[in-house]
Amino acid sequence: MAAFKVISPLVEYLEKQGCIKAFAGMEGEKSKLVTLNFPAGPQNGDPFYFASDSSLDYSNACITAIELVDVVTLIDSNTNQGYKDNITATAAASGYLVFSDNKRQEIAVIPLYNLIRRINSGKTTFLKIDTQIWQNCYVAVTDIAAFSPTTTAFTFRVSYVPKY
């Protein structure tokens, strides 16, 4: 006899609306590590924009999950300025990630601390972002003194579903 699961009407509704999915569900079809160096002379509140990556623009991908890779998860990453240490969870409390569309309207604002998977009992942060322009997305910090801009970099693991 086939197994069946009991689902509350509210859970069914939220699933149909794309508001929830199983926490152990698929994060996406593909994922990639994206690094972001601090610009020269970083200031509090400045947007540190990601480099252009058309494979993560809305025309090519729906972003379905994101994880901030902190120094405990991966000690360093290969950036376009060489290997740099990843940031600490403590420093992550002084930064946030912003997804923006092609009009630079904010789609979502998420504190970095929240994106560290190990701190959140292994649960990734699910997204359904499909109007983004990757180079319009950015990280900003509220206390640059909490970071070491010359020796560290931000590393994200971005999961996505290609649209082609």
Binding site: L10, V11, Y13, L14, E15, Q17, G18, C19, I20, K21, A22, F23, A24, N44, G45, A93, S94, Y96, E106, I107, A108, V109, I110, P111, Y113, N114, I119, N120, S121, G122, K123, T125, F126, L127, K128, I129, A140, T142, D143, A146
Partner: protein, 140 residues
């Protein structure tokens, strides 16, 4: 078990104005594009300084040690307090197994929603309770 998918999010803040006092209602600050009763809230989470030291507006967030001293109330566009005095500890993701609070989707009145202190110890004037709301836009 399910977890929330972020479609749109915004950090909103309730500022502790004046001398922090137990029982006072500290309303959420106006966010122009979210204050027209045009937001369908389906989840939220709360931050203390452990998760977010300062808001993007450079306001200091309440200390992590005070996470058991604050309750939060959401009101809808009919002024119904559909979440009434929920302890914010329950809504801090990293303290609750990584789960985000899910709600039956509802149009909220942001500036009519508020937080209250049950103990003002360790909370300073002008600090904020920061909340990330996960929402859809009405009619979108």
């Amino acid at each position: 078990m399910n977890n929330l998918i972020i479609k749109r999010s915004q950090i909103v803040r309730a500022q502790i104005t004046g001398t922090p006092a137990v029982g006072n209602k500290y309303y959420f600050t106006d966010v122009p594009n979210l204050s027209r009763n045009n937001v369908v809230l389906y989840g939220f989470e709360v931050f203390t300084a452990t998760q977010l030291a300062k808001t993007p507006q450079n306001e200091t967030v309440i200390p992590g040690a005070t996470n058991d001293q604050v309750v939060l109330t959401w009101r809808d566009n009919n002024k119904i307090e559909f979440v009434y005095q929920m302890p914010i500890y329950t809504a801090i993701r990293s303290l609750n197994g990584g789960f985000i609070v899910l709600l039956k989707p509802r149009v909220i009145n942001l500036t009519d929603s508020y937080v209250q202190l049950t103990d003002a110890t360790g909370i300073t004037t002008n600090e904020v309770v920061a909340v990330n709301i996960y929402y859809d836009i009405v009619g979108e």
